[in-house]
């Protein structure tokens, strides 16, 4: 395995009592939420969790949008912010229906539909974005996939040794309800699009490189996508140069 299935544990931090979310460098453009003792959704235009900032009313300044905010929001609302929820959006492309386009910068996965539309899902990606770019295909699909922690991961966390031969699929499995295995030609890239047991993490860059989706979303995508479907991973900075 590529080691992309493990969600990294994050520190809990105290966030100020009132916060706005904006993409880095865009003042007040993309307001996500207002925290007034708790998180209230306001107008949502777009959210860029990895590179986003929040306005902390207590500190009266923009601070990084951290996984903690995502945790708080999810705890309050039992769902991700609206922008990361599954929705049909206008999407003009030359790619044929059934193609998947992954925008790790915006944390969106598009499933191309006919008539210049797409289903847009929120995703979580690796700490450094997706880590690579290029064109692959869906080589295999699996319901309730088995998870095998990489050797390095077991070395870091010996408690995982009991899963060295694989953790059966199920609600405790980090891969979640479904997995799409990405192939380059006939070669398994070891990258996956899979579900998650930490739905609050959608919209963040905190895994080891794979694409995480809400279990309901990955199940929806699983039903729609065909084996052999084209998957285009868009570039994000230097990751483009690494290729698949």
């Amino acid at each position: 395995m590529a080691g992309c299935e493990m969600i990294e544990k994050t520190r809990i931090q105290t966030i100020g009592s009132s916060s706005l979310v904006r993409p880095a460098g865009k003042k007040f453009l993309c307001v996500l939420m207002l925290v007034a003792g708790f998180l209230l959704p306001l107008t949502v235009h777009e959210v860029f969790a990895a590179s986003s900032q929040i306005y902390d009313q207590t500190q009266r300044k923009w601070v990084a949008y951290t996984p903690d905010l995502a945790r708080q929001f999810y705890r309050r609302h039992n769902q991700t912010p609206e922008t990361f929820r599954r929705q049909v959006v206008p999407f003009r492309t030359a790619e044929k229906p059934g193609t998947i386009i992954i925008d790790s910068v915006r944390h969106f996965l598009y499933f191309v539909l006919p008539d210049k539309q797409a289903i847009r899902y929120g995703i979580g990606v690796g700490r450094e974005g997706f880590g690579w770019t290029g064109i692959v295909k869906v080589g295999r699909k699996q319901e309730w996939p088995r998870w095998i922690p990489p050797k390095e991961m077991i070395e870091r966390d010996p408690k995982l040794a009991k899963y060295a031969d694989g953790m059966p699929g199920g609600p405790e499995n980090p891969l979640g309800a479904r997995a799409l295995y990405l192939f380059e030609g006939k070669r398994d890239t070891l990258y996956r699009i899979h579900g998650t047991i930490e739905p609050w993490s959608i919209g963040l860059n905190i895994s080891s490189g794979c694409i995480r989706m809400l279990n309901d979303d990955v199940t929806d995508l699983f039903e729609r996508v065909e084996i052999g479907a084209k998957v285009i991973v868009l570039f994000q900075g230097a990751s483009l140069l690494k290729g698949v």
Partner: protein
């Protein structure tokens, strides 16, 4: 673009492989991998088969392979040779070896850097010089390093090398990260940027379907001046990047049908038709859009196009 392998959407990939059926065709059209050349190749095939009753085969290949094929007799036609991009191949096979003949008729092409209209109007990025401004370049930053990202083409394209030179000459090599990638990825990135009104800048060329798919504009820049266009070939000098300079726009490009000298002898009517064949930017653009974006099967598109452009095709056939 076009010294080069352009990876177009996969919808074309399965449609444009060699169509040989096991018997020797009367002639073979080489197909480079960009979409407009593929569309033109299918139209030529349809015209030759329908009007001259020839058996035509399509064969994929790089520009180098197609020119070499015209030289050794295994390929007869290159549907779309871009100049000045392929000037080296032109000089070798058309001028020196005289094994290929380039039609004098041409479709004008354009290349440079493009942005979406939203980028131009919403963010005030209208000139290439804007990219050298760190504050403006930062608008294209996707990885948080403070520099913007700019797709300059596929790693195999001759134009990519020139865009690197231009980036250095204009100064945006300092403020932008220059990215090389498959064109399919780059075009999907444009789609995704448009979907969320994100600013994006990228290498572009016309005719191309992206201009029909989205509102795309070329960035303004000083007009081409050959006195300010000094491009050193890496094969000539390892210091090509630092010794080159090109802080002006590209010269207007021209797209020519090219065929083997051998064809002129073996199939003179075909050669005559190819010499008379005249397309234009709108035609090539619409052909490409129909096949790439609307997903029409190329041979079916070509059949319909020839059927609805009878007078035009007849004029090519009647030309002396």
């Amino acid at each position: 673009m076009r010294n080069m392998r352009v990876y177009v959407p996969i919808l074309l990939a399965g449609l444009l492989t060699t169509t040989g059926s096991g018997h020797a065709a009367d002639l073979v059209i080489g197909i480079p991998s960009w979409s407009s050349a593929k569309a033109t190749a299918h139209v030529i095939k349809e015209v030759l088969e329908d009007k001259l009753k020839l058996d035509v085969e399509l064969k994929e290949g790089t520009n180098e392979e197609i020119f070499a094929g015209m030289d050794d007799g295994t390929i007869d036609i290159h549907p779309e040779v871009w100049l000045p991009n392929l000037m080296a191949l032109h000089d070798k096979y058309v001028i020196r070896r005289k094994s290929a003949i380039m039609s004098e008729k041409a479709v004008p092409g354009e290349q440079g850097l493009c942005v979406t209209r939203h980028t131009a109007e919403g963010h005030g990025i209208r000139k290439i010089e804007d990219l050298a401004d760190p504050g403006k370049a930062r608008k294209f930053d996707t990885d948080g390093d403070g520099r913007g990202e700019l797709w300059v083409g596929d790693k195999d394209w001759a134009s990519t090398r020139i865009e690197k030179i231009r980036a250095r000459s204009y100064g945006h090599a300092q403020t932008m990260q220059l990215l090389e990638a498959d064109e399919t990825v780059a075009m999907a990135a444009v789609d995704a940027a448009v979907a969320v009104d994100r600013p994006i800048v990228f290498y572009c060329y016309a005719p191309h379907h992206v201009f029909s798919l989205h509102e795309i504009v070329f960035l303004e820049e000083p007009p081409h001046d050959p006195r300010d266009w000094r491009i050193i070939d890496p094969a000539e000098d390892a210091q090509w990047l630092t010794k080159s300079n090109a802080a002006v726009g590209w010269a207007i490009s021209f797209l020519h049908v090219t065929y083997s000298s051998r064809l002129a002898e073996s199939q003179p009517r075909a050669a005559q038709l190819l010499s008379a064949m005249k397309l234009d930017v709108d035609t090539v653009s619409s052909m490409t859009y129909a096949i790439v974006v609307e997903g029409m099967e190329p041979s079916e598109f070509a059949r319909q196009w020839v059927a609805t452009n009878g007078e035009r095709v007849d004029a090519w056939l009647a030309a002396k």
